[in-house]
Subunit: 244 residues, 2 copies
């Protein structure tokens, strides 16, 4: 196995576009600057300009927006293999904040790295467009979640999605996964109050569907949960390479 192909990002992009050696070498340069962040560190702030992008190698992060009244909306949780802050480079200023939820290892990518890569290895632009569209499809599901599902359904859906995503990168399995989120994080992601999140989790536990406890999510009834959430993996896993 070629070491140059080993990064999770490379694997992800290769599923869409067959990458040449030049593409792969260019991508490999994204991993020159390995950095670590401590849990709680704010890696990026809404409105910040000249922010870097990151490729998450280890740990969890979350992206969010604050409201004037102090409320907060979590946009997404980021797990290993995810690309963070692309828009902050494309638009020179970040439209959201980014916080490390655990201690994190990530590769820092500067704007010229990315823009240069698109110029030198144009297929990468297509590959990144694809990856970004996958994220967009996920966001569409989140929109449906917030707009049209009840609190219990929302929670079920979020937990299943996280499980499926972690599975994709080889973390956790069908029985569950370990999860550093607090009930406050869940609340901010689902548009609920932390108190209600607690009740919802209790209900899901008592109904024998999922258990969320001390950093562990356990699927007690995968099919039942899937049915409740209306969770369809369709928007997550996609067919093989489109461009050869």
């Amino acid at each position: 196995m070629n070491p140059i192909e080993s990064s999770p990002l490379t694997r992800k992009l290769s599923t869409f576009v067959a990458l040449s050696d030049v593409d792969l070498e260019t991508l490999a340069r994204f991993h020159r600057r390995r950095r670590t962040f401590l849990a709680g560190h704010e890696m990026m702030h809404e409105g910040q300009s000249n922010a870097s992008a990151y490729i998450l190698a280890e740990g969890w992060a979350c992206s969010y927006k604050m409201l004037p009244d102090g409320g907060r909306q979590v946009i997404n949780f980021q797990i290993p293999g995810d690309f963070l802050g692309l828009r902050s480079i494309l638009f020179r200023t970040s439209d959201l904040s980014l916080e490390a939820l655990t201690d994190i290892e990530a590769s820092e990518v500067f704007a010229p790295d990315i823009l240069g890569a698109f110029a030198e290895a144009p297929r990468l632009a297509t590959a990144v467009l694809w990856a970004s569209s996958r994220d967009e499809a996920m966001m569409v599901e989140h929109l449906v979640n917030l707009g049209r599902r009840s609190a219990v359904e929302r929670m079920a859906h979020l937990l299943m999605e996280l499980g499926a995503r972690l599975n994709h990168v080889g973390i956790g399995d069908r029985t569950g996964f370990s999860c550093p989120l607090t009930q406050y994080h869940l609340a901010d992601a689902l548009g609920l109050s932390a108190i209600h999140v607690n009740r919802v989790l209790r209900q899901l536990r008592e109904d024998g569907l999922v258990t969320f406890r001390q950093g562990k999510v356990t699927f007690n009834n995968f099919e039942g949960l899937q049915a409740l959430a209306g969770f369809d993996t369709g928007y997550m896993d996609h067919a093989g390479p489109l461009l050869r």
Copy 2:
């Protein structure tokens, strides 16, 4: 003025990436197949494969997802100049449905048109990535809207966003715009019931902020509405070309 540059999509993409003559000619080929659709026509169905993409020239459309219980979540409204259904091509199958809200004129774009364009004129891939990221930023705002704002704030935000977007393409002005949406459409976009939408509109009208009536939106107090909505144009208008 070069006729080849005249399409709204071309103008949009040019604001991010300086396009060469080859790029422009390639883009122009997107406009070979002009089609019209009647109001109410379903242009694309969730799960459909081999769907085309479209560049909207005239009229309004909306993208949505249906839920098993019959509920519906509108993801976005599309106005002239918008590119529709990119993901249906990138993923070979559409993750949402698309409906013409008015009679529509649009250019139909087939998968090979787009994928070929990315191969022949690689800068277009970067340009489309940028346009797609702009849409993503808009979706982030919608997420905040649904997750953390009250019904009145949501409505205010949606109406202001529509106004700003229409303004961008030369339709409507600071005083208002004409709007083919019914209260049901608004409800499905905002995660509310149509009945409550009606009450919210009444309140906004009585407070002298906006009037929504017989296909016309009138801003009675632009600044007040902006303050209520927490509407910040930052996520919509971006700086000039990043790639020269």
